[in-house]
């Protein structure tokens, strides 16, 4: 096939060695963004809960985290974790890092993406918790439950349901932001597409393929989350008018 004097060669997507690279890139994108999401969710929950606590310094610490990580560019944060953070370590730890963690770029990517996404997750968690009326907390506490029990049995099951749609969006953003990890040398799918282009001059095919991969995975995630939402729907409350 030829249009605008460009000859398509779709075989760069599967012929050796490019096909293997692409598969590896896809797999890297997947576990990079999943690991980052685990970091983001854990850290984001802690920070989000901290932001609604009665103790002022706890609230302040949570707020400071969110402001710093949400209001600086993700690309800069990525560079920070990769180039700058190791320099803050003592000399011997720095050496240890360079000697023993050959794929430091990957872990810097996980950390950066996780820490950045956590600031956004924290805001969703905070919004979810604040959307529950104060009397609901009081009702639970009034029954004699401890703080942990109140969150475990009453607040979290309800708040998580409220947070599910915005958290889906955050997960998708996290997944797509993983492409930026190529700037510090992580061989995820975007980087792979670019890399294959440098050998074959068939970037049109490879970037199209990368886009298709992102799109397919994102649509799968959306489908999965819609299914989850349906499963955990509260009778008479959510999903009205569907």
């Amino acid at each position: 096939m030829e249009i605008f004097h460009y000859t398509f060669d779709w075989s760069v997507l599967w012929r050796s060695p490019y096909g293997g690279m692409l598969v590896k890139g896809i797999v890297t994108t997947l576990h990079l963004s999943l690991l980052a999401w685990v970091v983001a969710l854990t850290l984001g929950m802690v920070v989000g809960v901290a932001r609604v606590q009665p103790l002022r310094w706890v609230r302040f610490a949570g707020g400071a985290y969110v402001q710093v990580f949400r209001n600086t560019p993700f690309l800069v944060q990525l560079f920070f974790w990769y180039f700058a953070a190791p320099l803050l370590l003592p000399k011997q730890d720095q050496q240890w890092l360079y000697d023993n963690v050959p794929d430091y770029a990957y872990w810097a990517g996980v950390l950066a993406l996780g820490a950045y996404t956590a600031s956004r997750v924290a805001e969703q968690v905070r919004a979810g918790l604040l959307s529950i009326p104060p009397d609901q907390y009081r009702a639970a506490y009034a029954s004699g439950m401890t703080g942990f029990q109140v969150y475990r049995y009453v607040i979290a099951p309800f708040a998580l349901r409220i947070m599910l749609p915005p958290l889906t969006t955050e997960f998708l953003t996290c997944f797509k932001n993983s492409a930026l990890a190529m700037t510090i040398g992580v061989m995820e799918v975007t980087h792979t597409a670019y890399y294959i282009d440098s050998f074959t001059w068939h970037g049109l095919e490879t970037t199209s393929a990368a886009s298709a991969v992102y799109l397919c995975i994102a649509l799968c995630i959306i489908g999965l989350m819609a299914l989850t939402e349906k499963r955990v729907r509260i009778v008479g409350m959510m999903g009205r008018g569907r």
Binding site: Q136, A139, S143, G144, R161, I234
Partner: protein, 242 residues
């Protein structure tokens, strides 16, 4: 049973919600607190089970000081049932789960025992057939009766009601008041914040009128309505009694 002595509460430096409130409620008494909105009625109620951290004064419930750091506040709250204006049922749980949660988690009762007790309480409030329903499937009056059953499931010594009928349609108010009247007649110690003057007149042993964080006047039902001592009380009664 409840000894309130010189209690003051500030929400922030500028806003004093309670101003040296003192009041004694004896075992088996029903006390109605009324007054214009913002007068501190609900705040006072929440001080009794430690949901509000008042800065000055003491409250003793059955001899136990609420704000004493040595007091196990969760244990104290388990002895005090509380009912809220907007019911505050846990939306993700069935009626049965709502009622059995605290008995199982706080009192460590076995499920079978907790459910048996819950059924008996649902019979008592007249809606045993709703046990498997979710809160959003009930009418306002039914929700509030479930909320009362939920509080009673802990076998409390005291019941606190925070405007229990204010969010109800007129035709549902009676069904809730009937349950409350029954409780009062059985000798439950009750503190009720309400604007239901009919209930106050016929059921309350004493009526406390509050304004701007202070107790302006207290009296028996008859004295309060027929011989209000203070100008502020008269104004209030003129406005709410037709």
């Amino acid at each position: 049973m409840i000894d309130i002595a010189e209690v003051s509460l500030w929400y922030d430096r500028a806003h004093k919600a309670l101003d040296r409130v003192s009041e004694t409620i004896r075992r088996g008494q029903t006390v109605v607190i009324c007054g214009p909105s913002g007068s501190g009625k609900s705040s006072l109620l929440r001080c009794i089970n430690g949901l509000e951290a008042f800065q000055e004064g003491t409250i003793r419930v059955d001899g136990v000081s609420v704000r004493d750091p040595r007091t196990d506040i969760h244990r104290l709250r388990a002895e005090i049932g509380m009912v809220f204006q907007h019911f505050e049922l846990y939306p993700h749980m069935t009626v049965m789960q709502n009622i059995t949660l605290a008995p199982m988690r706080v009192r460590k009762k076995a499920r079978a025992e907790a459910e048996q007790k819950a059924m008996a309480l649902l019979e008592r409030v007249g809606i045993p057939e709703k046990a498997a329903r979710y809160p959003e499937e009930l009418s306002g009056g039914q929700k509030q009766r479930v909320a009362i059953a939920r509080a009673l499931a802990m076998e409390p010594k005291i019941m606190l009601f925070d405007e229990p009928t204010s969010a109800l349609d007129p035709e549902m108010i009676k069904e809730v008041l009937d349950v409350m009247t029954g409780l009062a007649q059985e000798g439950m110690t009750m503190v009720v914040v309400t604007h239901e003057m009919g209930f106050a007149r016929t059921v309350a042993d004493r009526i406390v009128f509050m304004s701007e964080g202070r107790v302006v006047e207290t009296g028996t039902g008859r004295d309060f309505f027929e011989r209000p001592q203070h100008e502020r009380t008269r104004q209030f009664l003129d406005r709410i009694l037709l």
